[in-house]
């Protein structure tokens, strides 16, 4: 049976009776978590399990002259003390380069520093003990003789002739450079009515998952098999990596990913301390657990952002944007992260800048440089907040320079809703977006004139309120063009297996994972709808490479668009299988039957013919009653990989209304609105909360979050008292509206929604603050906008 053939009467998933598509049903797995019965990787306790803790480099750059582990080995409870050099004998190194990012380089990396440490926090020696506390006690007994080296910490100086070169074989600290030149930027400047410029600083911050990174590796020498319990976003990715670098056949590795307490892109990389646990398990032939503590999270989780950008925009006399130019530099730590590489964020900035607008010419230079700080890689909304902020800040500045209201300026310049398919100015194909419809929807949600009147009246009283906007696009549901073409073992497909049990319940297993975002809800809603059963009769299995089909997992807002579509197809295939058997049992044409609410019914009348459980009973226990030449199948697997476009782009627009206390620099967000177009919405509760959660992380980036480093490369605020994340008090009410432009690339039509909030919030907040401070001639283009930076901009401090 072909997937292309629609079922009865040409109906699609959108025409199913009793559909759960578009319904805000509660998450089926919430009850388990609320009962405290979730299984996070840290909850897994295996017999003979030992714990590893790592001695980490206290210096940003230093040679390891000698290591004396004897005292640590003799400490109570210690099972093994293993140096980086010993690890290097047991594992092949990895290189964080993607071949399609041409010219990128990054040297081979081992799980632990071997003879030189290159960031403060890099693991250097593993101490394995019966308890984590004993391992930490023994860490203090490891003697390392260090020779501190000059560190390249400031990315702006990393390319200077006198900068310490982190990998001497390269001659300098350049990892990768990309240039784009479209149209004639210089001609646009020459004929411009106005040219606006800004220098942007995006500080380094990190993901701060509530559950830190955790892994339990269990090598069973009897089976020659490695089972790894892992808080991860990509079970099949880490499966491929462990198999390759530990030289174990793929079928001798199993990754199990149970509940995950937030990931945001932090848990989809190759971390030496995690891989180290797997190596140790093979070495010791017993389960080894590593759980990063909060201090380790801050110095060893990937960091993100850390870009400095010069941006320039030209507008003509009609207020039309004619050119955009950017020069971006980003520091990524001493290695490019494996296997996604640390070039993607910059690549995204270059791809996405100006991406909502009809712009004729674009020039961009991007440089990725090595430095002695933790590795940078893909954190929620990779590159988007940066591209959106630089574009939107310049857009509002250009609007002001043109004497045009910021919303009207957008109306003049946003890509027309009927002008698709087309490309962004950087050359990325777009299927269909709805910028103008989204803007119109937003203006219906906010009282724009009222806000402007209030702003004017407040200013009279010395109260500074601002309104800021951000139009944006978001990369979702990437095709193999994202990573696969670059040689990374990262699948762009997902698969779903749907099976009927003997009592007519539906068991679904999928290659995406649940990080707390509600993927299992989405899968259950789609499977229940596609098969024709109640959600209460659906069980979802995710996060096990032995139990689920092969697929990418959860990242880049791909779960619903890709795994959702695979589930539509698998669910329909199972329904067709069931109806085939039912047709035989009922001596009716299968095409005249349907499954609704768990019953076989006449498709035309809806009259009940038989319970699904009866199909299960007959197929599983009384196959003898079915025709001799007929074998029933009640399980189907389908996969889906997007092919028509490299990415299923979505769009949206944000508005932030806030007040700045110009004496203290403290910002209070008064209102926040988002209109989002992610195509078909499966569960509006989940989508709205994805947007809200994303906005809150964007508020973090805009106002609070920053890894503060000393010039020597020491993290100064590696704890949650000094590294500030927004908390309940700092979260405004966030109103979410929708426009729906389904992708025609899939039957479901869903695109992703996981990163739109984070992508747009820093831009909207920055614009709002600058709008508020306009009468004071103050302007901020640095994130986070701390009270002190705001007062600096105003000139009060």
């Amino acid at each position: 049976m072909s997937d292309q053939v629609s079922d009865q009467g040409g109906l699609t998933i959108h025409d199913r009776p009793n559909s759960y598509i578009g319904r805000g049903v509660p998450r089926p797995n919430a009850r388990r978590l609320i009962h405290g019965r979730g299984t996070f990787t840290d909850d897994i306790k295996l017999p003979r399990m030992v714990h590893v803790a790592y001695v980490r480099s206290p210096f940003a750059h230093a040679d390891i002259l000698s290591i004396d582990t004897s005292a640590a080995e003799a400490a109570p409870g210690v099972v093994a003390v293993v140096t980086g050099a010993e690890f290097a004998k047991r594992i092949t190194p990895w290189e964080g380069v993607l071949t399609h990012l041409q010219g990128m380089r990054s040297p081979p990396q081992y799980p632990l520093a071997v003879d030189r440490a290159r960031w403060q926090g890099e693991p250097v020696v593993a101490v394995v003990a019966e308890t984590r506390a004993q391992a930490e006690d023994a860490i203090e007994l490891v003697q390392i003789d260090w020779k501190e080296l000059p560190a390249a910490t400031d990315m702006m100086r990393a390319m200077d002739a006198d900068a310490p070169v982190i990998h001497p074989e390269y001659g300098n600290n350049l990892c990768w450079e990309r240039n784009v030149d479209v149209g004639d930027v210089d001609a646009a400047y020459a004929s411009a009515a106005a040219v606006v410029e800004d220098s942007f600083v995006f500080s380094r911050h990190t993901g701060v998952t509530l559950e830190p990174r955790v892994i339990v590796a269990d090598y069973n020498a009897g089976e020659e098999k490695l089972t790894v319990y892992h808080a991860t976003q990509g079970p099949h990715m880490i499966h491929a990596i462990l198999s390759k670098h530990l030289d174990l056949p793929e079928h001798c590795v199993r990754i199990v990913c149970k509940d995950v307490g937030g990931a945001f892109g932090i848990k989809v990389h190759t971390y030496g301390d995690e891989i180290g646990a797997a190596v140790l398990s093979v070495m010791l032939k017993r389960p080894v657990k590593f759980a990063a503590d909060r201090l380790e999270s801050f110095t060893s989780d990937i960091h993100a952002r850390d870009h400095r950008i010069e941006g320039k925009m030209a507008v003509d006399k009609d207020g039309r944007i004619t050119a955009l130019e950017i020069d971006d530099i980003t520091g990524i730590g001493p290695y490019s992260m494996y296997p996604r590489s640390s070039g993607i964020e910059l690549n995204q900035v270059l791809n996405l800048a100006g991406g909502s607008y009809d712009i004729g010419s674009y020039r961009a230079r991007g440089r990725v440089v090595f430095q002695n700080k933790p590795l940078m890689c893909q954190y929620r909304a990779v590159g988007h907040p940066i591209a959106t902020m630089l574009t939107e800040a310049l857009v509002e500045k250009a609007a002001q320079a043109s004497g045009i209201d910021v919303l009207e300026f957008r109306q003049r310049n946003l890509m027309a809703d009927d002008d698709y398919p087309r490309n962004t100015v950087s050359g990325v194909p777009l299927e269909k977006l709805s910028h103008h419809a989204a803007l119109a929807k937003l203006t219906g949600m906010i009282d724009y004139d009222g806000l402007r009147k209030d702003q004017a009246a407040s200013r009279e009283k010395g109260v500074y309120r601002g309104i800021g906007f951000a139009s944006m696009i978001e990369v979702t549901s990437p095709s193999p063009a994202f990573y696969g073409v670059g040689g990374a073992p990262i699948s762009a497909q997902d698969g779903t297996t749907v099976r009927l049990d003997a009592k007519g319940n539906v068991i679904v297993s999928s290659s995406v994972t649940e990080q707390g975002q509600g993927a299992e809800s989405m899968l259950a809603q789609i499977a229940a709808t596609a098969v024709g059963v109640d959600m209460a009769n659906v069980r979802i299995i995710t996060g096990d490479t032995e139990m689920t089909p092969y697929g990418g997992g959860t990242w880049a807002s791909r779960g619903t668009g890709i795994a959702g579509e695979a589930t539509v197809r698998a669910g329909r295939a199972l329904r067709e299988q069931v109806l085939e058997v039912a047709g035989i049992m009922l001596q009716s044409d299968a095409g005249s039957l349907d499954i609704r609410a768990g019953k076989i019914v006449d498709a035309d009348t809806g009259n009940e013919r038989m319970d699904l459980a009866e199909v299960g009973r007959v197929v599983y226990y009384r196959g003898d009653t079915l025709p001799k030449d007929y074998q029933a199948e009640l399980v189907a697997t389908r996969h889906y990989v997007p092919k028509a476009y490299p990415f299923a782009f979505t769009n949206g627009i944000h508005c932030c209304h806030l007040e700045v206390d110009t004496d203290t620099g403290i910002v209070k967000i008064l209102g926040y609105w988002v209109v989002e177009d992610c195509g078909t919405v499966i569960n509006p509760l989940l989508v709205d909360d994805q947007v809200r959660g994303g906005v809150v992380q964007g508020i973090g980036g805009a106002l609070y979050e920053e890894c503060i480093y000393s010039p020597e490369g020491q993290l100064l605020n590696g704890n949650l008292a000094d590294y500030l994340v927004p908390m309940a008090f700092e979260m405004p009410d966030i109103e979410v509206g929708h426009v729906s432009t389904p992708t025609a690339d899939s039957e479901l039509g869903a695109k992703g929604a996981g990163e739109a909030g984070t992508a747009g919030a820093p831009a909207a907040i920055t614009n709002a603050i600058n709008d508020a401070l306009m009468p004071l001639n103050a302007r901020l283009t640095i994130n986070p906008m701390t009270p002190e930076r705001i007062l600096n901009a105003i000139g009060k401090v």
Binding site: A133, D137, E140, R294, L724, M727, T786, E788, L791, V797
Partner: protein, 285 residues
């Protein structure tokens, strides 16, 4: 992030606690609510050989009316202070201040004695106790002594408390008729330690201010009494001129240092803003 191994004792009388503390000298440390100490233990910033858990000491609990003062046992939780009628009736400054300290979960455990002993320069209670001219009751094996709050806080995380001693109570004078109190702080997020804060206590007769204390927190190593600024207000009505002269005097009073959230220059600026806002609040009653 596990503490270094330590011994643990939980005495049931203050005498027993003092004996253990005296025997252990500097290697022994009391633990009360654990809201500051546990973090330093887990980060191995401190590694005492022995912890003396004060939570079994009934003698250290309770809020009592002791004539002109309210006596607060060192082990009294912020939460108990929030619910106390005595505090509501006689210590309006404390009542006002409690919601500014951290979050309810921390206030359920954190103790007044712990806050005074820990002496975080950004903490609210040391500044309040200083502004109120409170007394710290300190008990050692040799007896009990009372130290005025102004003499208790010596330097950054440094107090008059000697090894082998416990804070057993804090005594705060009841608010007199005509007294007014104000507190404001600027924190990055609700519940955070402040970037800068100011407590004011004064007698106001008609419009005239007397007995004024202005005590800053997060403005140096200890609570900082801004006596030059206070002198500009004493005997006057609080008006724009008085506020401006108090602000101008702050340079004589304050010498803050940078922290991760706020530079010294920013703190000095915020001190001027606080002076304006707190004095305005005081004038408003």
């Amino acid at each position: 992030m596990k503490p270094a191994p330590f011994e643990y004792v939980k005495p049931s009388s203050v005498d027993d606690a003092l004996t253990v503390l005296t025997e252990g000298a500097d290697d022994t440390q009391p633990i009360a609510g654990g809201q500051s100490l546990t973090a330093t233990l887990n980060m191995r910033l401190s590694a005492p050989v022995r912890l003396v858990d004060l939570n079994g000491l009934e003698e250290l609990r309770g809020i009592t009316d002791a004539g002109g003062v309210v006596r607060i046992g060192a082990l009294t939780r912020y939460r108990d202070l929030e619910q106390s009628d005595l505090v509501a009736d006689h210590l309006p400054l404390i009542k006002k201040t409690l919601p500014l300290i951290a979050h309810p979960a921390i206030r359920n455990r954190g103790t007044l004695g712990g806050s005074i002993a820990f002496a975080d320069p950004a903490a609210e209670m040391p500044a309040c106790v200083t502004a109120l001219n409170g007394a710290i009751e300190i008990t050692g094996l040799n007896g009990v002594r009372k130290v005025a709050a102004g003499d208790f806080f010596k330097g950054l995380y440094e107090t008059d408390l000697q090894s082998g001693e416990l804070i057993t109570a804090i005594e705060l004078p009841k608010a007199a008729p005509g007294s007014r109190f104000a507190i404001q702080e600027f924190a990055r997020r609700h519940g955070d330690y402040a970037m800068a804060g100011l407590v004011a206590a004064a007698q106001v007769d008609g419009a005239t201010v007397s007995d004024i204390a202005l005590v800053f927190f997060a403005m140096g190593g200890t609570p900082v009494a801004a006596s030059s600024a206070a002198a500009k207000i004493a005997g006057k009505a609080i008006d724009a001129d008085a506020i401006a002269s108090a602000q101008a005097a702050l340079d004589d009073d304050l010498d803050p240092f940078d922290d991760t959230q706020c530079s010294a220059a920013m703190k000095k600026h915020l001190a001027r803003v606080l002076t304006d806002r707190v004095l305005t609040e005081l004038a408003g009653g």
